[in-house]
Amino acid sequence: MTVRRSRKTRRGSVPVVGLVAAFGLLLAACGSGGSSAEQENGENGAFYQEGDRVEVVVPFSPGGGTDTLARIVAPHLAEELGVEIVVQNKPAGGGVVAVNEFINQTEPDGKTILFSSSSNHIPPIVGQTGVEYAFDDFAPAAGFPIGGVIYSHADSEFTEPEDITGPNQPEQINYSGQPPAGGELRILLMFEMYEADINTALGFEGRGDARLAWEQGEADISYDTTPAYLADVAPLVESGEAVPLMSFGTVEGDELVRDPVFPDLPSPAEVYENAFGEEPSGDAFEAYKALSVATLAMNKGIHLQADAPEAAQEELAAAMEAIGASEEFEKQAEAELGGTPLLLGPDVENAWNAMAEVDSESSEVQWLIDWLAETYDVSVDEMSD
């Protein structure tokens, strides 16, 4: 499972990458300062040295989305940092155990890097039991955003986006999905926001199985994240079997706007305006936006601990910037990210802080918790993701 740094240069923009990395090293050298940094850093002033062994912890099983992405990033990271990278899967406890361990037990020496996903980000927001970490324990180096599209059958009663809103829906909507937690909450909140009358069958193992139920006609409406949508649903749209209704949108500042990957599809906010004649507001909408940041903008992240050496944090951030700029990486990761660029530098900090601000005391989270209990009989104390 070891990815060795290859001495041979890989195809692609090596000079540029080298330049960016050199710049990163420069930054790191300037930024760290102090006596400890000089001891920690090796001869050429860089924190990470040739031959270092760095562990990338993936809190999920091999083969999942986070693992696949981590394994695409790993060789690039090995090359940028000049180290040997080992990917470790620690899937216990729905991903919470590995993150608890990373924050509380792992020595913050820069030699262990965490790959997180929204399944790690939501538990602290809703105050799930067993979580022993908070957002300010992390030093995020990059975020991996993702988008999504809601679609329906072309020959159904729901062919316009407004057809799934309460005032305009021609009949009750059948919806098949995963249990009401994590990313699945987005679409359920949307139905709530639209005051739609829905019948849910929430118990499918993954979006793939839920999509199959939709194809079988068990459901009227379904959604997929961008990569799966492009691979599995876009062909059905082309052949005239499916129609896209809207994207999940992205949060810019405080606004919910169109997803730049799907400029032709309305955002959920636009659909609301068309159906209700006013801008969306209220708890459901605020909770939706909060969840959007936690599950879409910061769908996955790569981190050190906040108390890891400054030099390591900066070198990792610089390495991720170089990787984000690499065309080769963009091509490799397209299937996992759907072409959305990485969140880097101040952007990733902003997104991370935005999640930190949505704490379990805030009114929208309280509303979300109450709503889950009332509508889906879910008690957050025992919630899984």
Partner: protein, 506 residues
């Protein structure tokens, strides 16, 4: 239909593609042999190297690996009673007793040739199903899947071998153990006692290792001697291959069961080989299942390799992984620039058809390699227990620890190992527990989604009724067989037959 097949064959037989296929197969054999590792881990390790390869080469390497782990995982399960992957659990039930009788070589040869035959049948079915698969898969919604799971559960009776009440109880315990952790239909945890380790449920590999591997190794140490009880090897490869030929219809039947179950997304890869084992052990003729019946090796192994061909269908055409390994394969395909999904048949037809040839070649290659190696590996069963056991114990513990890399894995292994040993001493059947465990989550999921979507009206669905009738037949014939077996068990317990009398030839 022939033309694309030939075009695809030329794609597969290109020397550069072949090299990667061989590479994948060899890697697959190694990860298959190591208990606790399987196709999922093997493919995950390949992922970073796949990008930039030509699609045909990358697919050949990944599929080559995925196709053969089910062949080589028989080494640890049949020879040492250590279940390698989820597809070799049923093989233990008869493979290990046969090995103890000194027939290790026969078991391996039978298993490998059954795997080959199953793999070829699976590839054949894949070829014809590629073009007709979408409508078939779309026919099996939640209600039909639930009924198929019930069919699987109805095997419990026959797996109990004369101890019906103990078997039923074991199956219920399995169902309950399967319910530990995150619930499939609500975001809630059950029976976790606030232990984060239990949030993901008990890992299948730990359960299988605890129930089967630990008791066997403990008893082996108590008895002394070697795995092959008399220290002599009495089997031969010829005998194993001949056994597969004698039971060729069983091979075909099991392979069809395996392919069909693999074909349906949502049932999981180990369900098919358990069903094949259960169906095979309902025979009335000379039934020595559980004590060393070569048919108990042939049936599950042909089913598990045939399942790959089946599981590839939903993976390629719907982008829904038919098994754990194929979930990773899906990631690898996107890295190669392929778009698994409905457009695959139009855009990449030669490549899709070439997967059939890849499966075929990989299976042939793996069988030859494994058959060649079996001569030497089987000698392990002659090693005295005191020398072998420490190594096997280390393998078992390390394998269990691969599940979640948490100390809970080892604690769970110890607890379940004790339970398994007690069950073994009491002659309680352990297979029903495993079957109950495997089917627990899907049973709950599809019952819930069927009822949430259709209310009670799904009960009148024609296909549901058909499967219901099949279940009734299985239960009825099982009960009759059960009576017969209970009679023979009573007779046997009075006569007290020596354990290793009578070979296992059939």
């Amino acid at each position: 239909m022939i033309e694309p097949a030939l075009e695809a064959l030329s794609l597969t037989l290109r020397p550069d593609t072949l090299i990667f296929l061989v590479l994948g197969v060899l890697l697959g054999i190694v990860v298959g042999i190591l208990p606790g590792l399987g196709g999922v881990v093997g493919l995950s390790v390949l992922l970073p190297f796949v990008y930039g390869m030509e699609p045909a080469q990358g697919m050949a390497m990944m599929l080559g690996l995925a196709a053969v782990t089910n062949t080589s995982d028989v080494f640890p399960s049949a020879l040492m009673g250590v279940p390698g992957a989820s597809s070799a659990q049923a093989t233990i039930l008869d493979g290990y007793p046969l090995t103890r009788q000194g027939k290790g070589l026969t078991v391996l040869a039978a298993s490998f040739s059954a795997s080959l035959a199953g793999g070829l049948i699976g590839a054949f079915v894949l070829y014809f199903c590629i073009f007709a698969a979408r409508p078939i898969i779309l026919t099996f919604g939640s209600p039909e899947l639930f009924m198929l799971i019930l069919l699987g559960l109805s095997m419990v009776g026959v797996l109990s071998r004369g101890a019906t009440r103990a078997g039923l109880l074991a199956a219920f315990i399995g169902l309950i153990l399967g319910a530990v952790g995150a619930a499939p239909t609500a975001p809630e945890y059950r029976f976790t006692f606030d232990q984060l380790y239990l949030f993901d449920g008990i890992p299948l590999a730990v359960l299988a290792l605890g129930l089967f591997a630990v008791p066997e190794i403990v008893d082996l140490l108590v008895e002394g001697g070697s795995i092959a009880e008399r220290g002599e090897l009495r089997g031969s490869r010829k005998e194993g291959i001949l056994a597969v030929w004698t039971h060729r219809w069983l091979v075909v039947r099991s392979a069809i069961v395996g392919t069909f179950i693999g074909f349906l997304p949502g049932l999981g890869s180990s369900v098919g080989h358990w069903m094949a084992y259960g169906l095979a052990s309902q025979t009335r003729k000379d039934n020595k299942f559980g004590k060393g019946d070569i048919r108990g090796v042939i049936a599950p192994d042909s089913a598990s390799n045939a399942g790959d061909g089946g599981a590839l269908v939903p993976t390629l055409l719907f982008g829904i992984p038919g098994s754990g390994s194929f979930a990773v394969l899906l990631g690898g395909m996107t890295l190669l620039g392929l778009q698994p999904g409905p457009s695959m048949l139009n855009d990449d037809l030669p490549l899709v058809v070439s997967t059939v040839w890849t499966l075929t070649l990989a299976n042939v290659l793996a069988t030859l390699v494994c058959l060649g190696a079996s001569m030497y590996v089987v000698k392990l069963t002659q090693v005295p227990a005191q020398k072998l056991a420490p190594f096997v114990l280390v393998i078992i513990v390390v394998a269990a620890y691969q599940s979640s890399r948490h100390w809970g894995d080892i604690l769970t292994l110890l607890v379940l190992g004790t339970i398994g040993w007690i069950m073994k001493q009491l002659n309680w059947p352990r297979a029903p527990l495993l079957v109950g465990f495997v089917l627990s989550v899907p049973a709950e999921r599809y019952l819930w989604t069927s009822t949430a979507t259709f209310g009670a009206s799904w009960l009148t669905d024609p296909l549901v009724i058909v499967i219901g009738v099949v279940i009734a037949i299985v239960l009825l014939s099982g009960t009759m067989l059960q009576r017969k077996m209970e009679e023979t068990t009573q007779v046997a317990s009075r006569v007290e037959e020596p354990r290793s009398s009578g070979g296992a030839s059939t």
